[in-house]
Amino acid sequence: MLLEADVHAYLFLSFSLFAVGVYGLLSRKSVIRMLFSIEMIINAANLNFVIFSAQRNLDGQIFTFFTIGLAALEAAVGLAIVIVFYKRFGEVIPSKIRNLRW
């Protein structure tokens, strides 16, 4: 068997975090809350890396450092976009502005 028994609890946690993140991204209106949801999705993956790194090898923890940096970059670029958006429209809710349709 690949996975030890107690790993399933952690897997449940990370899957729930991922699901909450995706739900938040799709349902929230405010851009700031959508940024939170992105962080949750990336951190769900981070949690997986660290948990399985304890059982396998150190590669997962090293990759987690890369991923944390990546999430910081993502947040920086996202906040820059939010600031430009706010300066232009005076609010952070993109669904109120509809020039492009799906």
Partner: protein, 471 residues
């Protein structure tokens, strides 16, 4: 990874990083900026050509095989031509050097992405390719581009998050990120299939495959067309090659399960893309939906992954796609700059106003439609051959039908250009160096025609790749 290839990528990224600095200090003119970045491109291209021999390093993260060299060279040429056209169109803008710097860094990321053989390097390279484009989409600072920027950022971030989650599941099963080790240790298991689906969903966002294609046309329409050329042509083509490496090198264990998913996605993607393209009035949206349809054609070759010729199909379609789509969007950008032409009605009679430019645009449109002397034809031949060889004749038939449908809207643009009377009286801009812009576009047309006739380079590269993965 070969040391020369790495040096070429670094030179490209460093040129991009220092171009805005040079501009801040010396206040360089547009022409000088174009010359500096061209020097960066030429040096990088020279080093990539030399990457056949030399020391190797980081060999568990990147590989420099024939596929990397060929596609890297072609992506570099396409990006160079994009840079020249973008400089020419927006030379009066204050932030043009920043835009071109982001283009150079994004191209460096694309070069790393096509050579990565490890999920760590794949994700980092993909972020390096995508991050500058998040900011480039906002470049024109009008309302549409801001909305496009927000949409693009959240879709791209969700794609990366999904892909990371899939990679973490693969790591849970094997304890490794390396494609070779993954290929040895993976086996048929529901968890592996789930991880593969997460990773494919991440790639699906990048390629605008069917369930995730909504953002594509909005973003390509909302942003300025030079950036749309980069997004549709170069970064999508690089993502195709990365997906090819993932599917063939890392996940052969469950490839038989992926076949049906790819076939279904391919059929739906190209049908949706072509049907929605027929309904559009704006030329940029037509080109955007045709790029969705072309993602579908490439997915046909992915669906036929049991036969070796599918590798040739994927490579050839990526190669043809990077030139024809980039060039079509650049032609649109030039028409927009010169005549302010956006909709189908504006295109009436442009063939008489700009005979050479319209002829080049016609070449690219015919190549997108798949007319013989151009590379778009031979790539579709390889793609449909692979589907028939893999026993999926229905998929090849769907592809052929779609291909025939798609001719309708390409020919419609050509008809508006050549057979109608002009409606726009006066050009929006009439610069004196108008003929200069024909050179980059003509270079791309020459590449497209040469690759359509001389099939050896791509076929040789794919043969080397096939023997490497051991069909």
């Amino acid at each position: 990874m070969n040391i020369n290839f790495l040096a070429g990528t670094l030179i490209l990224a460093l040129t991009g990083a220092f171009l805005p600095v040079i501009n801040r200090i010396f206040r360089i003119s547009g022409v000088l900026g174009a010359i500096i970045s061209s020097v960066g491109y030429i040096l990088a291209g020279f080093l990539i050509m030399l990457s056949g021999n030399g020391r190797k390093l980081l060999s568990s993260f990147f590989v420099t095989d024939s596929v990397t060299q060929l596609i890297g060279m072609l992506i570099l040429v396409a990006s160079w031509m994009t840079m020249l056209v973008v400089y020419w169109i927006t030379q009066r803008d204050k932030f043009i050097n920043e835009l071109v710097a982001a283009l150079l860094i994004s191209t460096a990321g694309a070069l790393l992405l096509i050579s990565s053989t490890n999920f760590v390097s794949l994700i980092i390279a993909m972020e390096l390719m995508t991050m500058p484009t998040y900011l480039m989409v906002l470049f024109s600072f009008d309302e549409k581009s801001m909305e496009a920027g927000v949409k693009y950022f959240f879709n791209g971030a969700l794609a990366i998050g999904t892909m990371l989650f899939g990679v973490s599941l693969l790591y849970a099963i094997t304890g490794s990120f390396n494609f070779e080790i993954l290929a040895k240790e993976l086996f048929r298991d529901p968890l592996v299939a789930l991880a593969a689906i997460f990773i494919l969903a991440g790639f699906g966002f990048k390629l605008t495959a069917f369930p995730f294609h909504f953002w594509g046309p909005d973003v390509y329409d909302g942003t300025c067309p030079g950036v749309a050329a980069l997004l549709t042509g170069i970064s999508k083509s690089a993502a195709f090659i990365a997906l090819m490496r993932v599917v063939y090198e890392a996940l052969p264990a469950i490839s038989s399960n992926l076949t049906f998913i790819f076939a279904l996605l391919a059929a739906i993607t190209m049908t949706v893309g072509n049907l929605l393209a027929l309904a559009q009035k704006r030329v940029s949206r037509i080109l955007a939906y045709s790029s969705v349809a072309h993602a579908g054609y490439t997915l046909i070759a992915f669906a036929a992954l049991a036969v070796p010729v599918s590798v040739t199909g994927i490579l050839y379609h990526s190669v043809a796609y990077v030139f024809m789509k980039t060039a079509a969007f650049l032609c649109f950008a030039v028409f927009l700059y010169l005549w302010g032409a956006r909709t189908m009605d504006d295109y009436k009679g442009l063939g008489k106003r700009e005979p050479l430019l319209a002829a080049l645009f016609l070449i690219f449109l015919l190549s997108l439609a798949g007319v013989p002397p151009m590379a778009g034809f031979i790539s579709k031949v390889f793609v449909f051959t692979s589907a028939v060889n893999a026993g999926m004749t229905w998929l090849a038939l769907v592809g052929l039908l779609n291909s025939a449908f798609s001719v309708a809207y390409y020919i419609w643009i050509a008809k508006q250009m050549y057979l109608e009377e002009p409606t726009i009286e006066k050009p929006l801009n009439n610069p004196s160096d108008k003929n200069f812009i024909l050179i980059p576009l003509a270079v791309m047309a020459v590449f497209l025609i040469v690759l359509g006739i001389w099939v050896n380079p791509v076929v040789d590269a794919s043969a080397a790749f096939i023997s490497k993965i051991g069909f």
